[in-house]
Amino acid sequence: MEFSEILCVLMFMSFILLLFTGFPVAWVLGGVAVIFTLIGWLVAEHTDLLADSFYTIDWAYTSAVVDRIWDVMKNWVLVALPMFIFMGLMLDRSGIAAQLMNNFVRLFGRVRGGMAVTVALIGILLAASTGIIGASVVLLSLLGLPVMLENGYRPSFAAGAVCSVGTLGILIPPSIMLVLMADRLAMSVGDLFLGALIPGVLLGVIYITYMLTYAWLVPDGAPAPEHVEPITSKAILEMFWAVLPPAGLILAVLGTIFLGLATPTEASGVGAFGALLLAWANRKLNLTVFREVCEQTTKTTAFIFAIFLGATAFSLVFRGLGGDELIEAFLTGLPLGPNGIVIAVLLCTFILGFFLDWIEITLIILPLVGPVIANLGFDLVWFTVLFAVCLQTSFLTPPVGFALFYLKGVAPTGVTVAHIYKGVIPFILLQLAGLVLVFIWKDLVTWLPSVAYGN
């Protein structure tokens, strides 16, 4: 093993280990980059170990991180990120989810498992409007969990449904994760949105199918309510009115992107404006709301970009030591075919997802494996969507599963961690099933972009 390769391995291992100290990920990444620059520099100054290689690095080399940060600063595609965050937070405040819940329950509540289906439908609508996982899970928990529990739903089933449906927003476009992925792999955001749409909705449909099947097989797991109002034309009309605002917003955002009326950046700003109008129309808009949404947008954007900045320093040094080539050599050297390599990468991602969350994996791992997979001849949009589905499970897998943790925070008493863990297992399995489907039928991803381009 070359000395530079040893340094690469050490660098990656230290990063993983140091993460578990609990010190903020962003600074661990940046700090490890500095420490390994120091090591690389000392080795190059005092020994011949790196002499014949391309992999000498010094302070000047690592200072290119400034140019890389500058590139992040002037990246107009990423402007969409804070706008989608703003939109999600504002939507969270607009009260439309509560309206949807009230109206949907009246229609679907009579069916066995109907309330779970209601939560799923609202989750899908929220996901297609924006998709801030924390906000979605909290909202769905507060709205859906008490209703389901009151009606005798099993806590584990109800919790699992809320958690998994709440995470759909990261996959169903618009999604800040997909924006970040497209940027890192130099792909079109629109392509990735289109590619992820069918798999995302498919997962939603799989969830709903499971919920209905579960309610049918386990009658007392998700019973129909005892007292139901009859469905009236008035109820249908009211539901129609409740669906209209989010549907309009989805049309404004996704529609304009897909129909080519706007770039994702423009759509994000217009969507944020739309969410603002909805909140205003629902009389939820005041100075406090404004300020809190803005402040939270700053914080959420900042913690994502802090990791971005740390990761860009990390990748620079890792790459400078030959890390890219090492990863490529390792992956292509696996005694597996191209499909086997993809499966291996996804498996690793799934396992990493237990401990890390999507930001680190998207910013560190994806740029390392993406080009290798593309070189194997795979469609990069397809692979990235697979990767995204895989990352979606990371929200649900303990010990670090953000959806679990948000749910736990707001769940009514009586819903225990055991319930939550037990409840999400079937949904994680369903997600893996979705992953397999997308793996086998590439068309699920590639069809929509290809139709859009009218080939």
Binding site: A60, S63, A64, D67, V189, L316, Y453
Partner: protein, 332 residues
């Protein structure tokens, strides 16, 4: 291994501005690096890093200046915001023919001017590649007059972009990867990027059907191997000579490759429903007039721009006698 006994050992990371998978636009540095390695018996080696892997394409010159990296291969027109005269060395509207540019660079004082301009920024530029005119852009509909350009949302780079803006188009600078999607979805109406073989690789021909010529806004596109000046000055003469030779060979090979692959692509346009059109001469004359205004404005703003511009104009004025007489008219 006898040839390289005295050669100093060079191991440089070389970031590039365009993917090496792009014919003529990006692959030339691979030729140059391979040639150097072979000619030096392995002493001089570059490791080419794809765009953005080390430093962002727009920051290559900056990074070289600060010795963050020893050298890079880029289109120095990207330095437009920092070094106003830079685009003149890289591409300009109603500029020279490619071989006229190399004549100016090697024999008309261009090289010295380029080195002078960049010395102030601690960079030594070596002309290392050139390709012929770009297309005048990909359009959704026919262009019959300047009015057809007014109000168009168009992706256009460099000095040509300033001209387009004066014409009344709304000019935007999308990153290469977003152009296709933006064109396809109508977020922009038109775009230029490079030569037909390269544009085809990006798929423009699939979504917009009018490809206009001639490439008035970039009559040549030159690429430079930029080396940190201190590093360059510290090189042994033999190494400098090696790099100069490899780059000069690169210029010829790049021009040849670029010329070789366009015809077949344009020939195939018919089968794809693409119309290759020429902008009417009256439009070109109007554009030339506006270009002159833009150039004079820039010259008034920056002394070095003026110096380089005047040098080019003076060279072209003389060259014109030869150009007008010696070559067969283009339609022969």
């Amino acid at each position: 291994q006898g040839t390289a006994e005295a050669a100093e050992k060079i191991r440089w990371k070389v970031p590039v501005a365009f993917g090496t998978n792009l014919p003529a636009l990006g692959d030339n540095i691979v030729y140059v690096a391979d040639a150097l390695k072979a000619a030096s018996g392995g002493a001089v080696q570059f490791k080419v890093f794809e765009p953005g892997k080390l430093v962002p394409p727009f920051s290559i010159t900056d990074a070289v200046k600060d010795k963050k990296i020893e050298a890079g291969y880029t289109w120095i027109g990207y330095d437009q915001g920092k070094i106003p005269s830079a685009p003149l060395f890289a591409a300009r509207p109603f500029g020279m023919e490619p071989w006229e540019f190399t004549a100016w660079w090697f024999d008309g004082g261009g090289k010295e001017l380029g080195e002078e301009v960049y010395a102030e920024h601690g960079v030594h530029p070596v002309l290392c590649g050139i390709i012929g005119p770009e297309t005048a852009g990909w359009f959704r509909s026919e262009i019959d007059s300047l009015d057809d350009l007014k109000g168009l949302k168009i992706r256009f780079a460099g000095l040509g972009g300033k001209v387009m803006q004066k014409v009344g188009a709304s000019v935007t600078m999308l990153p290469g990867g977003e152009i296709f999607q933006a064109l396809e979805k109508g977020a922009i109406d038109a775009s230029e990027f490079s030569m037909p073989a390269i544009d085809q690789k990006l798929g423009f021909d699939k979504v917009v059907k009018f490809n206009y010529f001639p490439g008035w806004h970039q009559t040549y596109t030159a690429f430079h191997f930029v080396v940190n000046k201190e590093v360059w000055d510290g090189l042994e003469d033999s190494t400098k000579a090696l790099i100069d030779m490899a780059c000069t060979a690169g210029v010829m090979r790049n021009l040849s490759h670029g010329e070789a692959i366009q015809g077949a692509v344009i020939k195939g346009f018919g089968g794809k429903g693409v119309t290759a059109g020429r902008l009417p001469e009256n439009i070109l004359h109007e554009l030339q007039g506006i270009t002159r205004e833009v150039m004079e404005e820039e010259a008034a703003r920056d002394a070095l721009f003026k110096k380089v511009y005047e040098s080019q104009e003076a060279f072209s004025a003389d060259y014109k006698y030869w150009k007008g007489l010696a070559y067969l008219p283009r339609n022969f």
